[in-house]
């Protein structure tokens, strides 16, 4: 996935990033209860 991303033109990469950001923000705000595996807190 990462390698494919690097080969795309700039405009495509920006769109991809915006999509990712949208999905992530949606996931974080729409009540995902996932936490990081903090080892040591």
């Amino acid at each position: 996935m990462i390698k494919l991303f690097d080969r795309l033109p700039v405009w495509a990469r920006l769109i991809w990033l915006s999509l990712e950001l949208a999905i992530v923000l949606f996931a974080i705000f729409m009540g995902t209860k996932t936490t990081i595996l903090y080892q040591g807190f």
Binding site: I2, D6, R13, L17, I36, L37, Q39, F41
Partner: protein
């Protein structure tokens, strides 16, 4: 008191302003970074005692490093050697106390409050041991050692939550590396993608696996019938191991991408662990920095003591014991309740069985024959499946009270 998390607003702000500040204030990168790291440290403190403990826990190793190094010298007396070892033992005991391992009865007697726990406590221990033990070598090699650099190394907010575990030398060399390329637009986009992809892995992919794992765990808890419970348990374990992979590797992607934007290169912690065909290979692909630290600071010294002494003629037995101890300790480090002890035992046992099997097969087929056997496609698939099954089952004790579940079923 701040709950420092990659999903928090504070972290997002840090991720954004740190690269900019470090770029704009290039000459004062170290001071800027120190300011930010200290801010995170202070904001995450839960109580005043935590502040005192935290400051002592972080500063004492720095000032003790020269003393400890002198005491390690061959010319130092036996008393100094003993005192030095005593210091490290104390350090580990104090760490265990701060973590408050539930299954150690002694800790129940001592006064304690969760408010003394520090963010990233487990990881501080690794870095401080690395720094103090390497101090002599660092001084000799002319590696830069200053209090601000040490503090940045220990408190590095990118790695404070859950690693990756860096060694002091690589951190400081990387931080001051003038020969590094300037960030290009391509690199920035690449880092942003890595960061967002990491968030996706955590908050979408691992969240889904967490839900599925939780669902099957519930089914096991309330279900009956040996075969259906076993099948449900395997499903739970399988989904849980993927939860762990996506959650942890996603986190690593976020902090690694973020640190790179600030001009710091963190070590990779993952290398496609689901491709592993043996437990040893798995640990070389999963949480790599932990495996390396454990190999260098636990496995190597233990095996050295064993094969220098009573196991001189019994190398294989010595190796098995050293591996078992190493993985047991690594397992226990992961968490404070008894499930993690079982996790450690399973890892230790698995490694020993795996080593025994490899040894047996090598004797039966010869070194060359064994290599040919291992390269067959079907063998690789079977070994990959077996490895992943074993990993899943032992990882099921991470984050879930499987001990309680087993007791409940009996």
């Amino acid at each position: 008191m701040l709950n420092f998390s990659i999903s928090g607003l504070f972290f997002a702000v840090l991720m954004f302003i740190t690269p900019i500040l470090m770029r704009v204030g290039k000459r004062f990168r170290r001071e800027i970074f120190l300011l930010l790291n200290t801010a995170v440290f202070l904001l995450c403190l839960r109580s005043v005692p935590a502040l005192v403990i935290g400051v002592l826990w972080i500063l004492v190793p720095y000032f003790m490093a020269p003393v400890l190094t002198k005491a390690a010298d061959e010319s130092a007396g036996k008393l100094q050697h003993i005192l030095r070892n005593f210091f490290y033992v104390l350090m580990i005991l104090f760490f265990a106390y701060l973590m408050h391992y539930e299954w150690v009865p002694f800790f129940k007697i001592l006064p304690y409050s969760n408010a003394v726990k520090l963010l990233g406590l487990s990881y501080f221990l690794f870095r401080e041991i690395d720094f103090t033990m390497q101090y002599g070598y660092l001084k000799e090699s002319g590696v830069r050692i200053t209090l601000p650099d040490y503090l940045n190394y220990v408190l590095n907010f990118y790695t404070v939550m859950a690693g990756p575990i860096l060694r002091y030398e690589e951190y400081v060399t990387d931080f001051y590396d003038e020969s590094k390329e300037e960030l290009t637009g391509d690199m920035i986009l690449h880092d942003l993608h890595r960061i967002l992809f990491g968030y996706l892995k955590v908050y979408v992919v691992s969240a889904v696996f967490s839900t599925w794992a939780g669902y099957w765990f519930e089914r096991v808890s309330t279900g009956a019938g040996f075969f259906s419970i076993t099948a449900e348990f395997l499903l739970f374990a399988f989904f849980n191991s993927f939860f762990i992979y996506f959650n942890f590797s996603g986190y690593c992607d976020v902090v690694t991408g973020g640190a790179h934007l600030s001009g710091m290169t963190l070590r990779e912690n993952f290398n496609q662990p689901y491709l592993a065909v043996s437990l040893v290979e798995f640990w070389n692909r999963h949480h790599i920095t932990l495996s390396e630290w454990i190999r260098d600071y636990i496995y190597s010294p233990v095996i050295k003591v064993l094969i220098s002494g009573s196991f001189r003629k019994k190398l294989f037995e010595g190796q098995c014991i050293a591996l078992f101890i190493t993985f047991l300790v690594a397992g226990i480090w992961h968490g404070t309740n008894f499930n993690y002890v079982v996790y450690g035992l399973l890892q230790g046992l698995g490694i020993v069985i795996s080593t025994l099997r490899t040894n047996h097969m090598k004797k039966k087929l010869g070194k060359k024959g064994f290599k040919e056997f291992q390269s067959k496609k079907l063998v690789r698939i079977a070994e990959n499946a077996a490895t992943w099954a074993y990993i899943s089952v032992s990882f099921s004790f991470v984050g879930y009270d499987v001990c309680g579940l087993i007791l409940q079923k009996l």
